[in-house]
């Protein structure tokens, strides 16, 4: 048993090292004072300084953030509404099954297929309006489309856990449906919606393929910029940029963990008096 235990531990640590080795290498060479080659030539923060002078990188960072925020907003609204619509109403089995199928489509279909389909659709829509030129709008639409499913799935699982009892209890206490929705259902769902929103945010930041196929010249995001740059030749500035992205990601993850832990710890008492605000 002890042998198995230490084997498991060794494998796990090995796996973590495997995950982090490349990233650590990037971080290391982002402060190496040499343009080419992998010989250590001294510590420098020059490459980071150059990042902030590069307008394209700053624009790309802004685009990435704007895209993530806008698409998360849209996806959370649509996804939560979808989940509530599917779970809390007595649809016949066949309808539920087909809704289920549609919802699972982005999960079981590789994103490059969705991206390719969107390229064609947008080119057709472009005949109608130049709004659909490759650009931020197209990217937001693409992201929302696949994020919404994930949000809906997360919220749905939370709804399934919730069950109808509390709403029934509120009804027994003469609460109106609107009140129940606002003051009972939504607050109970809030952690699920928040989790869905966080997942959507991650998916947007992590996405490359959909952005790649729908971006326009002014809506380059960081992943696209790094990809194009890396294909031409890796430079320490790219290492610096990547390390920064890694640090910001770490901060976001830790922040999200803290937030979710706070929510779990603090259970807000449900206000069951329908007549008080």
């Amino acid at each position: 048993m002890r042998v198995v235990n230490s084997m498991i531990n060794a494998l796990a640590i090995g796996a973590l090292a495997f995950l982090y080795l490349p990233l650590m290498a990037v971080a290391l060479f982002s402060v190496n004072a040499t343009k080419y080659g992998l010989v250590w030539k001294g510590f420098t923060l020059d490459w980071y300084a150059r990042l902030f002078e590069n307008e394209m990188i700053l624009a790309a960072a802004w685009n990435t953030l704007a895209l993530a925020v806008a698409s998360t907003l849209g996806a959370t609204l649509i996804g939560a509404a979808l989940a509530i619509g599917m779970e809390k109403f007595p649809w016949p089995k066949k309808v539920k099954a087909s809704l289920d199928l549609i919802l699972h489509l982005p999960v079981v279909v590789p994103d490059i297929i969705l991206a390719a389909a969107l390229v064609i659709v947008f080119s057709l829509l472009r005949i109608v309006s130049s709004l659909f030129d490759p650009g931020l709008l197209n990217m937001i639409i693409g992201h929302i489309t696949f994020q919404a499913s994930f949000v809906a799935l997360v919220v749905r699982s939370r709804l399934a856990v919730l069950g109808p009892e509390i709403q029934e209890a509120a009804c027994d206490l003469f609460a109106s449906p609107l009140y129940i929705f606002r003051r009972v259902t939504l607050p109970l769902l809030a952690p699920g919606i928040a989790a869905g929103a966080m997942l959507a945010f991650t998916l947007s930041l992590d996405d490359f393929v959909i952005a790649f196929f729908t971006a326009g010249p002014e809506s380059i995001t960081l992943p696209l910029y790094i990809f194009a740059a890396v294909r031409r030749g890796v430079t320490p500035e790219i290492h610096a940029l990547s390390t920064l992205v890694l640090l910001i990601t770490t901060a976001l993850v830790v922040g999200a963990e803290r937030l979710s832990r706070k929510k779990v710890g603090q259970k807000k008492p449900i206000n069951v008096n329908p007549h008080s605000k």
Partner: protein, 351 residues
């Protein structure tokens, strides 16, 4: 919670607002990577004309065309296609005629570039730079004698070290066709098949790293990751200037491509006035010379020649000798043969 949502909504809408207001006097150029002094040239143009320049880069003509066909028509003011692509652009109505009244400096172009075969009279396109494709290599790993033939790459018995083939359908297929003794612009299915298969076999060898754009290949040779790469001559000369002991460039004996890159204006370009300003500015003798002195390509601008760097003028890598010129071939538009060529390329890459 509501305030957060409101705040995020405003944050989300900001970019569309800022983008709309920033579209003032801007010139959007879609060009090859590292083709001009990306840090300084746009700033110089802005100083002289007040128009802000935004650059977007590509690594092959086909990539640029794909972007245009996928909706980029109204998003760029200037594109820089190679000569053989211009007929397709004209046929597909992707570019618009130039307003010669706004281009007084057109007279600076050399005669060969005003009567360029793909667009006589410069109706749609104005010469930007011209150059060749060749082999850039590490002198310490490959001898000049070996580099004088494409067999250094295609012959498995030669010891070459890691190398990149160029990721451009016409350049690469053309070189393979030349090596096999066929016409650079062949559309014979058997010849194309042979070329594609040669490329596939070469690609699978241990020494070959795959296909990469000219600039990327050049960067890898400079970085020491590759021993040789097929690159555009100007990129190579620029890199050699920084490390002449180690790097060298040559056009192998079997021949290669000679190309002219031209400036065109896409059909729905947003800022026509600025586009013409840019073209006219590039045609100024001193500007044309500074462009060539930076990227080490040959200029079509005859009036600019007196201001060129003497070293470039004497460098046969930049201005080839008549002997080398005889081996160089202009890429032609293949009309219906384009599809066959593209299929052969996919065959080479996917094998």
């Amino acid at each position: 919670m509501k305030k957060m949502v409101l705040f995020l909504a405003i944050l989300a809408l900001l970019p569309s607002v800022t983008q709309a207001s920033a579209a003032k006097n801007e010139l959007r150029i879609f060009t090859w990577s590292e083709y001009m002094d990306e840090a300084n040239m746009p700033k110089q143009f802005e100083k002289e004309t007040g128009v802000r320049v935004r650059l977007d880069m590509y690594d092959s003509n086909e990539e640029m065309m794909a972007k245009l066909q996928a909706g980029g028509l109204g998003q760029y003011d200037i594109i820089i296609p190679s000569d053989y692509i211009v007929p397709s652009l004209i046929k597909l109505k992707l570019v618009q005629p130039l307003d010669h009244s706004k281009l007084p400096n057109l007279k600076n172009l050399g005669k060969r570039f005003t009567e360029v075969a793909v667009d006589p009279g410069n109706k749609y396109a104005v010469g930007w730079q011209w150059g060749t494709v060749g082999l850039m290599y590490d002198k310490k790993k490959i001898s000049a004698a070996n580099a004088s033939s494409w067999s250094i790459l295609f012959d498995a018995k030669k010891n070459v070290g890691p190398f990149w083939l160029i990721d451009g359908v016409r350049e690469m297929m053309g070189i393979a066709l030349l090596y096999l003794g066929h016409d650079f612009n062949s559309i014979h299915p058997t010849e194309l098949k042979a070329a594609a298969d040669l490329l596939a076999v070469t690609k699978k060898r241990k020494a070959c790293l795959g296909f990469k754009g000219g600039v990327g290949g050049k960067n890898d040779v400079v970085a020491g990751v590759a021993a040789a790469a097929i690159v555009y001559n100007g990129d190579a000369i620029k890199a050699i200037a920084e490390d002449p002991e180690r790097l060298a460039f040559t056009v192998p004996g079997e021949g290669s491509e000679i190309w002219i890159d031209l400036m065109c204006i896409p059909a729905k370009a947003p800022n026509l006035a600025a586009a013409h300003q840019w073209i006219d500015w590039i045609l100024e003798p001193k500007v044309g010379a500074s462009l060539s002195n930076y990227n080490h390509y040959a200029t079509p601008n005859e009036a600019a020649i007196p201001w060129l760097d003497k070293k470039d003028v004497e460098n046969i890598g930049v201005w080839p000798t008549p002997e080398i010129m005889k081996t160089l071939v202009f890429t032609q538009d293949l009309g219906k043969g384009n599809q066959l060529m593209d299929q052969a390329w996919t065959r080479a890459k996917s094998n």
